[in-house]
């Protein structure tokens, strides 16, 4: 009898402690992260025209054969401006080939102008004014960077600008692991 009524008084504490644990876990997560459903799926067929004044198209063929990064950006995007010096560093270090998708430019001159002023870290840039590639890739904002493995499968999507910390903690380890797998040739 006494135990029963005691239980009534302990239950709120128990529920609260459970909630506190949930909140603790919640603190380590980011609610704004929308997981990409394309992870471990093959890259959708891409064939983007070049930017004004250039001649190379960006196609799926460019993104197969080795581990590559695809960065979605726009000259209108403030966060891309912040990320840009880091992308130049990636280009300079030459560790991973970097390709770009210039998304939603209103004016065909804006993209080339921005790249000329700030510098061009990309091997090839595809022009995507109508969001064809963006929709196929499930882009939810800019900048976003995809890690594509040698078989053209999307392995990771970085939402938001990259920096040294994110690179060292997340991106580079994934690239290294993918390269290891490529060497071992397990073809997953």
């Amino acid at each position: 009898m006494a135990m029963n009524s005691r239980l009534k008084f302990i239950i709120p504490l128990a529920i609260f402690l459970g909630l506190a644990v949930a909140f603790g876990i919640g603190l380590t997560m980011n609610p704004k992260d929308i997981p990409s459903v394309l992870i471990n799926q093959k890259l959708p067929p891409l064939d983007l025209p070049p930017l004004k004044g250039r001649d190379k198209r960006l196609t799926t063929a460019d993104l197969t054969g080795r581990i590559t990064l695809v960065n979605v950006f726009g000259s209108w995007c403030f966060a891309c401006l912040i990320e840009h010096p880091f992308l130049m560093k990636i280009r300079a270090e030459g560790k991973v080939p970097l390709y770009g998708i210039d998304w939603l430019e209103k004016n065909r001159d804006d993209g080339p102008k921005w790249l000329k002023e700030k510098g061009d870290p990309y091997i090839i840039v595809g022009d995507d004014p109508n969001s064809k590639a963006a929709i196929a890739l499930g882009v939810t904002g800019v900048p976003e960077t995809f890690i594509i493995d040698h078989k053209g499968v999307i392995r990771y999507k970085q939402v938001g600008p990259m920096n040294d910390e994110i690179w060292n903690k997340t991106i580079w380890p994934i690239i290294e692991e993918l390269r290891q797998r490529q060497k071992e040739g397990d073809g997953k």
């Binding site: 005691r6 709120p12 909140f23 603190l27 997560m29 459903v37």
Partner: protein, 667 residues
């Protein structure tokens, strides 16, 4: 220099609070009168120190001191003076300082107005209040210090989000905090009572006015926020079930339950453990709200910029405060059980039902708010990728149906007597309310012409039931039409203020529900591109667009549209909606033009100019909106009247000073 004084004063306030937390508590344990008496003066010193600190921060904003990091991040030299001041609490650090200022203010008020409290209870309660304060001072000083300098100083500030540069929104946080933080008093009294091991009618009588005051402020704060959203966001909506909005609603529901539960303790000396539990939970929910808003755990349009450290600190604080108090409750709670019984059909039964409904409502809203987080956690461990958001459809399907029986019961409860009552006579007394309800449903149904939602007519019906039912209780009490007018008048004048509180509170709720039913149930909306000379008809009103011109404000540029509104050829009003652009932040805002009629609001919004010279316009007729604000004010007024009831100040009984004997509650 003044800025540093503010910083120093805050540190000293922490030290005073630490002393205030320990000395009176030990004094109460040892029955040392001098140590217990330390509580009062300590709380006064604490509040003065925090006030100095807050004043220093205001000074930094008002004088546009751009060597202060907070001022640089949140202010700008072109910002109007009023918003320089209100900008002090429009950011995380400043608003936390306001939070502790209010906490210490309540502590000092407990000391100042607690003349007829027994020394032990008073000392313990004020000590608990100080314990909570210590936690928050540490939080501010260690993770969210407003007094950080920026070297070298900036030339100008980054400005404040233009959405916040608004009078309604400027005063929304202070009232909300006076509300949430006010529930700390009931919390402190509950902890003190648990430590002492007894809760009685006298305790309830002390706790109620504090809870009522907090409730009054919280109701006003929520209504203010809702009103702001209505006129500023440009869609005519007033509640979005956003996690931060829910964080204010949940303690409000719990606080309302607490108010009613305390009545039962006071009048019948039962439901004691439950009331203590509610008091703990209500304040815990307030702190939980603070956690949800500032930790980044939930996505919300309201959320402050967060950092994991701040979130972690508040979580620890929440765990200590809530976990500690619930542990104390688990240990001491069983001692509070009362032998008093009552029949289910009685006023106690009605109040218990009300409590169950309100608490369930609060739990439902809490569940809906936290559900996305729970799913995310589940995904983390199971590798799933479902991401969900919970919004209006969930709450409309769960919370609203729960409130329907609650509102029906609200009219019946006051009609019932204590201990045991009969349902029949109560319902018979309400027959006019029943008729009114049917008429209202019919009228609403025909006006909305079958309409989009069945909730509109249901809401109007409930509003009529509750409103007329509350009036019937009043007329029954004064025996209107059953006794001579003089007798009725005599009874009217003798109605105690706390009863007026109930009448006004319930009636105000009815009016507000009518407003919500109308505004949610059958609003008319029309979106189109208009060129000067175009006329659009919305709900019987003709909106004629006369064109738009450019203008300029102190820190913004604006496009002002002109609408002439007529009905059947008669002029109703002119409307001047604006679309403003604030260069400092680059954020545009819409200023809707609203004309309020008793039956509804005419609401016009002007959007972007199109290439062909036309403008995108949104025109609305929002029925009954003003009833929501009026209803809220009536509730707030009723609560304020109740707080001033003489019983709480004079005649609250002193406990007999014989610890061996259970104190008797004097009626």
């Amino acid at each position: 220099m003044i800025f540093e004084i503010g910083h120093f004063a805050l540190i000293m306030a922490l030290m005073v609070a630490a002393a205030q937390a320990v000395i009176p508590m030990m004094g109460a344990a040892k029955n040392n009168a001098r140590w217990m008496a330390f509580a009062g003066p300590a709380s006064y010193v604490q509040v003065i120190l925090v006030a100095i600190s807050f004043a220093a921060l205001i000074y930094a904003f008002v004088s546009s001191d751009f060597s202060a990091k907070l001022v640089v991040e949140n202010s700008n030299s072109t910002k109007p003076m009023l918003f320089k001041i209100t900008g002090v609490w429009a950011n995380h650090e400043g608003s936390m300082l306001l939070w502790v200022l209010i906490l210490s203010l309540y502590g000092a008020a407990m000391a100042a107005f607690g003349a007829n409290l027994p020394a032990g209870l008073k000392a313990r309660a004020i000590a608990v209040q100080a314990m909570v304060a210590v936690g928050f001072y540490l939080y501010i000083l260690l993770t969210s210090n407003p007094f950080i300098r920026l070297m070298p100083p900036a030339v100008d500030g980054q400005g404040m989000n233009p959405l916040l540069q608004d009078i309604g929104l400027a005063f929304h946080p202070p009232f909300l905090y006076l509300g949430y933080v006010g529930f700390s008093v009931a919390f402190s009294f509950s902890i003190a009572a648990l430590i002492e091991g007894r809760v009685d009618a006298a305790w309830a009588r002390w706790v109620r006015p504090w809870t009522m005051a907090a409730w009054v402020f919280l109701t006003f704060g929520i209504a203010l926020g809702s009103w702001w959203a209505y006129y500023e966001l440009g869609w005519g909506g007033f509640w979005f079930w956003d996690p931060v909005e829910n964080s204010s609603l949940i303690p409000w529901l719990a606080g309302t339950a607490l108010l009613h539960s305390a009545i039962v303790v006071e009048k019948r000396d039962t439901m004691r453990a439950w009331t203590v539990f509610l008091a703990i939970i209500t304040f815990a929910l307030s702190i939980l709200g603070t956690f949800l808003v500032r930790s980044g755990v939930l996505t919300s349009v309201h959320a402050f910029v967060s950092s994991p450290l701040r979130g972690a600190f508040i979580l620890v604080l929440l765990t200590i405060v809530t976990g500690g108090s619930l542990a104390l409750y688990a240990w001491r709670g069983p001692q509070l059980k009362s032998p008093v019984l009552f029949q289910p059909i009685s006023r106690e039964g009605a109040l218990l039902l009300d409590n169950i409904m309100l608490t369930t409502g609060a739990a439902v809203v809490l569940l809906g708010t936290l559900y996305p987080l729970f799913i995310d956690i589940l995904n983390k461990f199971s590798g799933g990728t479902d991401k969900i958001s919970v919004g209006a459809p969930f709450f409309n399907a769960t919370f609203v149906p729960l409130m329907i029986p609650t509102i029906i019961a609200m009219a019946v409860g006051p009609m019932m007597s204590w201990k045991r009552s009969d349902l029949g006579p109560a319902i018979v007394r309400l027959r006019f309310a029943f008729v009114a309800m049917l008429l209202a449903v019919a009228a609403a149904w025909s006006i909305s012409s079958g309409g989009s939602s069945v909730l509109g007519p249901i809401g109007m019906g409930l509003a009529a039931w509750l409103g007329i039912g509350t009036l019937l209780e009043l007329t029954g009490r004064i025996k209107l039409f059953k006794a001579p007018v003089a007798e009725s008048w005599r009874r009217f004048r003798r109605i105690p203020r706390s009863s007026w509180g109930m009448t006004l509170g319930h009636f105000g709720m009815a009016v507000a529900i009518a407003g919500m039913a109308g505004a949610g149930g059958w609003k008319t909306e029309s979106i189109q591109v208009m060129r000067p000379g175009d006329v659009v008809n919305v709900a019987g009103f003709d909106f004629a667009f006369k064109g738009a011109r450019q203008g300029r404000g102190p820190n913004y540029q604006t496009t002002i549209g002109t609408f002439e509104v007529t009905k059947n050829g008669n002029k109703v009003t002119s409307l001047y909606p604006e679309k403003r652009n604030y260069p400092a932040s680059g954020i545009p805002t819409t200023e809707a033009a609203i004309h309020t009629l008793v039956t509804g609001d005419l609401y016009a919004v002007i959007g972007n100019k199109q290439k062909d010279g036309g403008y995108v316009t949104r025109l609305y007729f929002n029925p009954m909106v003003v009833w929501m604000w009026v209803g809220s004010l009536i509730m707030v007024f009723g609560g304020a009247v109740s707080v001033t009831d003489r019983r709480y100040r004079i005649g609250a009984p002193k406990r007999r000073r014989r610890p061996a004997v259970q104190p008797q509650a004097a009626e």
